[in-house]
């Protein structure tokens, strides 16, 4: 790229100079905290005597003790299972709707597309806490319009904030907040497909549905793969919505999701060592999942290219 004619010291040093702010911030707020968390995960507090006095509480090496505790902690495992169930609802529904809306926006002769596109994207601008708060009130029997209507019709009114429906209630908040963003991502890549691609299919008499399923969906597959990937990561890290619903119902425990459990152990119980070990396990699981997923996606892409 650079011709090398005027390669002064300034040019060689420039990229490093431009990267100084990012490097400093990365070191201070990413690398150092991660290293510290890993270090803490191998430590524990040893209390001698009654635990009173200055030298009574000492930090000592714990080996893998915190890790084995975390992996057998039923609260953490239950939380992970709950989030898995929640993710099995959120990800397919959210991406299914996003793809559906994107295809509809992209179809010929659709009306009111700019308005509906904006309306569906709007929840992206609303903080997760506020979204959970709004839906929380809509679920609350005293205030809810659903309960109002069901009450007038003399129909049974399910408690949306308990048991099985709670999963649906929480999933709905995530679907509501995330569909628009994913729709835009898929829609913009649909728009990038040149029109000639469809012409041949149209001449052959293909219906819009056939064009959508046979041509459009395969062509936006890379976008779908990435939205899928980011949705899974975001779902596993759910924290804000259940935390916000907590004051409205007793069914959301302080350890409902794994991240809530980490928070609870760190600040509720004050056991930062256990919390650090759990956090490290979650980070490792996320990384493994990510690399596995990206490798599989790459392999598929290569196979497609070879075909």
């Amino acid at each position: 790229m650079t011709s090398g004619r005027r390669q002064s010291y300034g040019v060689k040093g420039a990229p490093y100079a431009f990267l100084i702010p990012a490097t400093v911030l990365f070191t201070l707020f990413f690398a150092l905290p991660i290293g510290y968390a890993v270090w803490l995960s191998f430590r524990k507090v040893k209390v001698s005597g009654l635990g009173l006095g200055a030298g009574a509480r000492k930090e000592v090496w714990a080996g893998f003790r915190n890790y084995s505790d975390a992996l057998t902690d039923s609260e953490l495992i239950d939380g992970a299972l709950r989030v898995l169930g929640y993710g099995c609802i959120v990800v397919p529904v959210m991406l299914g709707l996003a793809l559906l809306f994107a295809l509809m926006l992209d179809s010929d002769k659709v009306r009111l597309a700019p308005f509906t596109r904006l309306a569906i994207f709007l929840p992206y601008a609303i903080p997760g806490v506020v979204a959970a708060l709004l839906w929380g009130f809509l679920y609350l029997p005293d205030v809810s319009p659903f309960h109002f209507v069901l009450d007038r019709l003399d129909l049974p009114q399910p408690d949306l904030l308990d048991g099985g429906p709670l999963y649906l209630a929480l999933s709905n908040i995530a679907v509501w907040g995330g569909t628009g963003f994913n729709m835009i991502v898929i829609y913009t890549s649909l728009q990038a497909i040149p029109a000639e691609v469809y012409e041949a299919a149209k001449l052959d008499g293909a219906t819009p549905l056939q064009i959508a399923l046979r041509i459009k969906v395969p062509m936006v597959a890379p976008s779908l793969v990435l939205t899928f990937f980011f949705s899974i990561i975001a779902t596993l890290q759910v924290f804000n919505e259940p935390t916000t619903l907590k004051p409205l119902t007793n069914s959301v425990s302080t350890t409902w999701s794994p991240l809530m459990k980490v928070y609870q152990d760190a600040f509720g119980k004050g056991d930062i060592y256990a919390a650090a070990a759990q956090a490290t396990i979650i980070a490792l699981a996320t990384l493994l999942l990510s690399f596995g997923f990206l490798r599989a996606a790459n392999r598929r892409q290569k196979q497609e290219a070879a075909r």
Partner: protein, 302 residues
């Protein structure tokens, strides 16, 4: 709703004969299924927003007695009650959120622009390693970072301060990623080379030549980061205990926590949520035309 759309479509098709003439009449019809599906989606997405707008107008008793989507008469009272709550701490929260989001997004955009430009334009040792390490930051669950960040900032006596919320959010791996993609697409290598031939310094080439070309992409990065910081809950939740420094998300959460058991406080929470939604929705409506959203899919595809 659908019949209205059909009626409008017919008149619209009728007033534009130029486009309709050379096509068979069947094709003038609107696609009903997509239009109705999208309208249903829009209704679903607007429902909670419409609810909070209406609920904010209700007095405490109206909230529980009148039909949900019937406007009430108590907005002025709710507004003054909320403003009076704890000597106007609500407006302090709004101000704090604006401060965190504007300042944080500005700094973040600068850092992203520097890094993205360097990674896109220069070839140097460790370029890909640096880029990949920065990107791995996206995958880190926020709490994995926030707890040790809190513990480390506590050692520096910086927790419960504005800086403790601002500083960790300046470096955005996603922002660096978008900036690199955008700089690579928008700044041609020969323009940079021409600048060098003219004897301009690297800094001058960046500020005078490259940066103006990168502006549309940087606006997008700014907006993403603004929304991300405004919506952030976990970091301030962990860092702050003094409610004078809370952003609006955390403030509303504490209000809900106190109000959940006292329905008298519901109106305060609802009015607070309504007012908190206004600035972001307004910003969103005004600027959505400036977002280069195609950057998203471009970024996703490469």
């Amino acid at each position: 709703m659908s019949s209205l759309a059909v009626g409008k479509a017919d008149t619209a098709a009728g007033t534009t004969p130029g486009t309709a003439q050379d096509r068979p009449p069947l094709r003038r019809r609107i696609a009903l299924v997509p239009t109705i599906t999208l309208l249903l989606g829009a209704v679903y997405c607007l429902l909670p927003v419409a609810w909070v707008v209406i609920a904010a107008t209700k007095s405490g008793s109206e909230l529980f007695s009148t039909f949900t989507f019937l406007p009430g008469s108590g907005f002025a009272d709710n507004f003054s009650d909320l403003s009076a709550y704890r000597d106007g701490v609500y407006w302090q929260w709004m101000g704090n959120s604006a401060l965190y989001a504007v300042l944080g997004a500005l700094l973040s955009t600068c850092v992203s622009a520097f890094s993205g430009y360097a990674l896109a334009i220069y070839r140097f040792r460790g370029r890909e390693t640096m880029f990949n390490v920065l990107l791995a930051g996206v995958l880190m669950p926020p709490i994995i970072l926030a707890i040790p960040q809190y513990l480390l900032l506590a050692k520096a006596d910086l927790t419960d301060s504005y800086l403790s919320v601002l500083l960790p959010q300046i470096l955005s791996p996603y922002g660096v990623y978008l900036s690199r993609i955008y700089a690579a697409a928008a700044v041609p290598a020969d323009v940079v080379e021409a600048g060098r031939m003219d004897g301009a310094s690297e800094w001058r080439i960046f500020t005078r030549v490259a940066l103006p070309m990168m502006v549309p992409g940087m606006v997008t990065v700014f907006l993403f980061q603004f929304v991300a910081i405004w919506n952030n809950f976990l970091l301030p939740y962990i860092m702050l205990s003094d409610d004078e420094k809370f952003p609006i998300t955390l403030g509303l959460y504490t209000l809900l926590e106190q109000g959940a058991n006292t329905p008298a406080l519901y109106t305060l929470v609802i009015t607070g949520a309504f007012l908190a939604v206004i600035p972001l929705v307004a910003l969103f409506l005004v600027i959505q035309r400036f977002w280069s959203l195609d950057l998203l899919s471009g970024a996703v595809k490469s």
